[in-house]
Each structure stands twice: as C-alpha cells, then as structure tokens.
Amino acid sequence: MGAPFTVTAGNFDAEVLQADAPVLVDFWAPWCGPCRIIAPAVEELATEYDGKLKVGKLNVDDHPAIAQNYGITGIPALLFFKDGKRVDTVVGAVSKNVLQEHVDGVVRDA
C-alpha cells in the first residue's frame, strides 16, 4: 500500500475531488526529465504519508483536459487538493525536503 495511483479523466472526480483525505496529484509526462527526477520522492511520500495523504499521478498526454482545466504549463506540476479544491501547487524538480514541507502544510491543516 501507499504507492501512487493512476489519475485519469474517469476517476478524477471520485478519487481526487471527492476524496476524504488531502490528495497530491503529480502532473507528469513520459519524456520530461525533471518529472523523472522527482518521481522517487513522490513515491516515497506516498508510502510515508499513507493514510494521511493520497498520492496520484496524471499523465498530461493521456488526460489533457484536466491539465488544461487547472492551467498546467510547466511540468512536473504537483497540485494539492483538499475538499475538492486546489490548495497548493509546486512546479519543477524540487527536492524531497521542499516537497515534504508542502505536504506537511497541507496535511497539518486537514
């Protein structure tokens, strides 16, 4: 348990917007170098915050409508959702420590 789940247009509403817990969605693409760099940190956080934070990954090539809806430009873009609303955004290959600070802020306020 704790591995990131795949976010799609089909499950976005149920698994992200209507989730009981805060959700981190990693908007990524297969040929994005920084997406590759940040992926291990995202996976580790999914395990470390299991039960407190849901972590999903959305391929922007496969689900462009969602990416467009949230105004995604540069990737990776890590969006935090709580109670159906976006509450925080991190863009780029930030370190795990920086990402964890954002996670803690969102989880603490949950």
């Binding site: 795949t6 040929w31 994005c32 170098g33 430009t73 873009a77």
Partner: protein, 145 residues
Amino acid sequence: MEREEALQMDKPSEKNITKMQKYAEKFAEKSGSYLHPDRSVTETVVEGLARHIEEVGVPLCPCNFYPDKPAEAKLRRWRCACDEMQMYKYCHCLLFVNKEGIPITEHLPEDHEGRQIYGLVKDPHADKGRAMRHKIGATEEAAHD
C-alpha cells in the same frame, strides 16, 4: 512501469534521436552549459524532443503541457533551445545545466519560478550563450501589453 510502457509505445526513430542528441551536445558547448550528469535524464528529454519532431515537426520542449501542440509548434518560444534558454540560459527541462545538474538561474528575474525552486545558481561560463538576451526587455513589455 507506466512510463516505460509509454516510452516503448511511442519511441521516436533513431534518426531523430541521434539528430537531437547531437544538437544538444553542440548547443551545450556553444552556450557554456552542460548536459545532465544523469544520462537517463538527457536521454529522456532528447527522446521527447525527437518525438515532437515526428508529432508536430519541431522539437518542442517536452517539459511543458500544450493545450494545442500544433498551434504551439508554429511559435518560437518553446522550440529547443527555447526563448528562456536563449535569453536567460535557464532550462527548466534540465537538458542544459551546470556540471552538478542544476539549472543556471543567475540571469533570471528574481521572481521567476526557477529562482524560487533552485535559488541563485551561477553561470559557469557567462561569456557564452544567451544569443537572445537583447530581447529580454521586449518580451517583458509584450507580456504586459
């Protein structure tokens, strides 16, 4: 496995991969930057550029989301080497970086997200690159119009 499956499914031709790899090596030298020390990062980005050549005819940066790729392909700004690289020597895709694999942020405006992510990263060869630096003011003015 999701990424590996996607890469295998749409792998670009060796011809275009080689073309973009050579371009990246030459541009790094010309601009006074380096390719990423983790070769898999460079390979990923180079394949993304090659794939965009096959998809839309030009090497669009693979580290952006484009709502309309064909329309974006008609513009100059995100064709590698992109306007940000040509003006500020900043590559958010991590193709052109310093020796340690960190993007150069020295020339960016202080409020640019690159500065917020990576802090101030010095240009190791400030005498090279930034062929479009003279356009910085013009671009900012256009953005405010």
